[in-house]
Amino acid sequence: MQGFTGGDSQGFCHMSARVITITSGKGGVGKTTATANIAAALAQLGNQVVAIDADVGLRNLDLVMGLENRIVYDLVDVIEGRCRLRQAMIRDKRTDGLYLLPAAQTRDKTAVSPSDMVLVCDELRPSFDYILIDSPAGIERGFRNAIAPADEVIIVSNAEVSSVRDADRIIGLLQADEKGAPRLIVNRIKPDMVAAGDMLAIGDVLDVLMIELIGTVPEDDQVIVSTNRGFPVVLENHSLAGEAFRNIARRIRGEEVPFLSLQQNRGLRGWLKKLRGGGK
């Protein structure tokens, strides 16, 4: 399957992609946002990247990546043999090396099986550096499909009790599946609330879940603005969330990147807290 490699390697390539699934348990915590941004950031760093939307029936990765108007075929068309894999892949013209394999919108999760996902990824592996899979919420079929081909799993959580609890459930299921230790992104952190003692700090979440952190992403209005536009926030230079996602991409590549300090005492409440000597 040459042709995905941007032309320079003439189909002569020795790549073998790492398959990384982004999942969460609880819905709405930022899996799709994380997938779109980490994929774009990895491509910007010069990698060949394909993002697969495994949320069959509730596809959104296309919209978040801004590629919704270019879909002809989807994952289920590939699996059911209506098209070849490369026909369903959409190349992002704004970012070299970035591709999307969209989910079907009018089918449900049972149209895909875990072994289908393994086959699709095995076909893609030689042409890419990274395959990122956007998992649906939940612990049922869609989640099973998404983790089946994974070499690594990244769990997204917010600093809030329900999503942390659900993340723990996912960690347990991955352990039972012998999937290797997942890594954690804590998304939508509000530093002022953390400083005031009204939001779990990263350290609290890690104490409870006992897994390795791969990144922290602040709550950032720019995420919503960029999602409105279909233009991943990592492609803008001046956003905290963008920087956080770029850092995660670099850590995935194995670089040592210091964690952004999101927990300093900021704002009036943080300042008052410092006065009282209660800041950590």
Binding site: Q175, D204, M210
Partner: protein, 85 residues
């Protein structure tokens, strides 16, 4: 601890500390698949079993699930009543 002290202490807990404590408790039960109710039932059964051989004081038995890494450990402390001679 006096009631007053307890109230003051309670007051100083931030909502994030409360969240963390509640999470730790609920996860201990989630991970072991033992609900608080089942734990109570288990406690009664164990006291009954041990009580067949030796005299135990049910009121002083403590029974808890503790975390050891990501695995849970069931810890029982069962004081025996000294035998009257």
């Amino acid at each position: 601890m006096s009631l007053l002290q307890r109230l003051l202490r309670q007051n100083r807990l931030t909502s994030s500390q409360i969240a963390k404590d509640r999470l730790k408790m609920v996860l201990i039960h989630d991970r072991s698949d033992l609900s608080p109710g089942m734990l109570e039932a288990l406690k009664d059964e164990i006291i009954a079993t041990i009580g067949k051989r030796v005299q135990v004081d049910p009121a002083r038995v403590t029974f808890s699930l503790e975390q050891d890494g990501r695995t849970s450990r069931l810890v029982a402390d069962i004081p025996l009543i000294p035998k009257m001679r």
